[in-house]
């Protein structure tokens, strides 16, 4: 039976894995984080349909986790790839969780007893919530097994945590195991799908907006967590008990910017901002909501209709790219030119949301070298042909899916996952009946 390696278990990688597995082939799904799900798991509602993201994602994650043809390798990384299409030999490094996944019942007692409880920023909540060194990234995680963060855990780092580690003492299943070692797993596959996603743009690189300086300047991704019922405020739009009357959204932060080398449009920010403006209106009916934009790109199915709806919900769109944010008393002042008025303006705000763009993952270059792929000028992976081979690469048998090839929204990432799966299935269907030279 043919087998495919899928690297990255976000929505694109999961979709590719499910399609291949459903077609009767074996999938090894490698995910660096402790859980599958990717960025989509962090989102609140999705544009333009306002489906709850985790409500539509969780069943997919469960399907992936339970599929007999999918072998999950979470908390793992591909470290070597050799061979060719039909016969790739792969080495995967499995990091120790220091928790025996077979014994762990996900009761959470280890996290409760961790001496670092509440002292480590939660990645899932983008720093707006805290976790322990023993943790699950979010309640719907798959696999629902605890992980001990080796970079923070005192026992792992210093070989000592009090008299003896309280997590181990408390675990009723005896699952905590600090003797676990890193493991190298060897795989043999016919094809590879790269679905490693993106990094959110780091707004520290736009110091004019004071991100990191003002606690009420947040990113779009942080807004998702703030607005999510499973987030740090259980879905309430509030920050440090500050009353929020004026919300300003700033588009194109880190996109369309030659200064940063991010020349491209990130494709999702116009719409996620429109959606977030809608959520603010829903949750804070009396708030003044302003969106500063350069151009609105509402090109997808149902997008323009959604943009119409949001404006009619009394969201004020002002054309202008704000130049800076500073403080006045305990409020923020957003300085911009309203280019339609031709006048510089100052808009006071209690909350500013930066519509950060999508950038290539920091390790793109390393992965490109590992897999023999090339990157485009913008830093994302290069497809074999921009029109006719959008999910293929120059390496036969290695395919791309999702945002690692360029920014895209959920439907496009899913479509690309399915396309890459189809390409992989073509190869696996032929394997055994030797590839005819020139045909592939």
């Amino acid at each position: 039976m043919g087998a495919t390696l899928v690297i990255g278990a976000g929505i694109a990688g999961m979709q590719a894995a499910l399609d291949i597995a459903d077609a009767g082939f074996k999938v090894y799904l490698v995910e660096r984080d402790p859980s599958i799900g990717g960025r989509m798991a962090q989102l609140d509602e999705t544009f333009p349909t306002l489906d709850c993201s985790s409500c539509i994602l969780t069943p997919k994650m469960v399907s992936v986790g339970g599929h007999p043809n999918i072998e999950l390798l979470t908390y793992s990384e591909v470290v070597q790839l050799e061979g060719d299409v039909g016969d790739f030999r792969v080495k995967v490094r499995r990091r120790p969780r220091y928790i025996d996944a077979d014994k762990c019942t996900a009761c959470g007692i280890c996290a409760e007893n961790c001496r670092l409880k509440g002292r480590i920023d939660s990645e899932f909540n983008v720093g707006m919530g805290k976790r322990s060194a023993a943790y699950v990234p979010f309640p719907q995680a798959v696999p629902l097994k605890y992980t001990i963060d080796s970079e923070r855990c005192l026992m792992v780092q210093r070989g000592k945590c009090g008299e003896s580690p309280p997590c181990r003492n408390a675990c009723p299943a005896g699952a905590v195991d600090f003797d676990q070692q890193e493991e190298i797993v060897d795989l043999q596959v016919d094809s590879v799908i790269v679905a490693t996603g993106f990094d959110p743009f780091d707004p520290h690189l736009k110091p004019e907006y004071g991100y990191g300086l003002y606690d009420n300047v947040i990113t779009g991704l942080q807004f998702e967590r703030l607005s999510s019922a499973s987030g740090p405020t259980y879905g309430e739009i509030k920050l440090n008990d500050r009353e929020i009357n004026d919300v300003v959204f700033i588009q194109c932060v880190g996109s369309r910017d030659r200064n940063l080398g991010n020349v491209y449009c990130s494709r999702v920010c116009c719409m996620y901002t429109a959606k977030q403006a809608h959520l603010v209106r829903e949750k804070l009916p009396d708030a003044r909501v302003t969106v500063f934009y350069m151009d609105i790109r509402a090109f997808g199915k149902g997008f323009e209709e959604f943009y119409d709806r949001v404006r009619e919900e009394r969201v004020q769109y002002r054309r202008g790219n704000p130049a800076e944010i500073h403080r006045r008393g305990d409020r923020l002042v957003v300085r911009a030119e309203d280019t339609l008025l031709g006048q510089p303006v100052e808009v006071e705000a209690d909350l500013v949301v930066l519509a950060i763009g999508l950038v290539p993952r920091a390790d793109t270059q390393a992965l490109a070298e590992l897999l023999g792929l090339s990157s485009c000028e913008d830093g994302f992976f290069q497809e074999a042909h921009p029109k006719f081979r959008p999910t293929e690469t120059d390496v036969s048998g290695v395919f791309l899916a999702g945002c690692c090839q360029g920014p895209k929204d959920i439907p496009d990432a899913v479509a690309q996952g399915k396309a890459a799966a189809a390409s992989a299935i073509v190869i696996m269907s032929r394997s055994g009946s030797a590839l005819t030279p020139g045909e592939e």
Partner: protein, 372 residues
Amino acid sequence: MEAEQSLLERCDLWACIQCGKCTGGCPMSFKTELNIRRLIYQALLDGGVNADGMDELWDCTACGTCVLRCPKEVGPSDLIVALRTTLVDGGVIPPTIRDALTSVFRHGNPSLMPPDERADWAEALGVKDISEGADVLYFVGCIPSYDDRAQKVAKSLVKVLQKADVDFGILGVEEKCCCNEVRLVGEEGLFGYMVEEQRELFESKGVQHIITTSPHCFNTFKNEYEGLNLKVQHYTEFVAELIEQGKLTFTGELNQVITYHDPCFLGKQNGVFDEPRDIIKSIPGVEFREMDRIRDRSLCCEGGGGRMWWEGTNPEEQLATARFEEVLSVGADVMAVACPFCLLTFELAAKAGGYDEKVQVLDIMELVARAI
């Protein structure tokens, strides 16, 4: 027509997407008619801009915020300089700016001061002439050479350099204006001529390393003098190194609350943000407090880009007022600066606005000199 076309291309105006980030960040757009985004649009529509009678063009302080903010690397201030050039060539410029330019050409300084008095401030300080040979050229600059108030900065820096046993010299009466503002008000011809002259002067003296009092001199030597292959530092960079290397030590202390105003030509335009702060914080006894609008978001003092020679179209409303309110809000006794333009504009504004009783404006070197 052809020349106008090249203006659009030279300033890369076709890249502009009219996002307004330049005008939104421009400190002048909030108080005068200057709207650089609209000027670019006009230039694109008409193939050029007729700048006659556009007084607000002279409001630009060349602070560089528009250049820093532009997401398309247009360089909006290049357009302003180019338009000023057309006005300079046509002779339609504010008389005080014209006088300054003439003075630079005739006397080597913009203030009609006699060239042979340029080094009077250094008399009896035991400063050697660079002709005698030295590791470092201290390029004093026009204002610190002639202005009573700014001379104190030059004298303080000399004291500091001597304390640290730095082998330095000055050009004395041979020093002339660096012409940073000459270039920025659009007098390209004079700038080119002076660059040529200074480069030859530096070469003839065997200069390898320049430190300047003014971020404006620093900027122009570092970025605008073609073919000048020298190490150029602002004094804050040099003195921060001396302190870090243990070559300059403090013997006294200053029990004051000090805040720092970033000069545009040092901070925004050249990225020197940390060294001035490092120096202030290293002075024993000092309590350093930051204001809100600092570093990349710093306010402009309104002294650059020729504004030392012209008060602008709206002299009543001063950015300095907002600055002093900020200084007071953090409870500082001293606003430290690192630029002679900032020093003089803020001192003037402090007196006019009655802030001088609550806040002292002092150059970082004056602070250091008091504690060694």
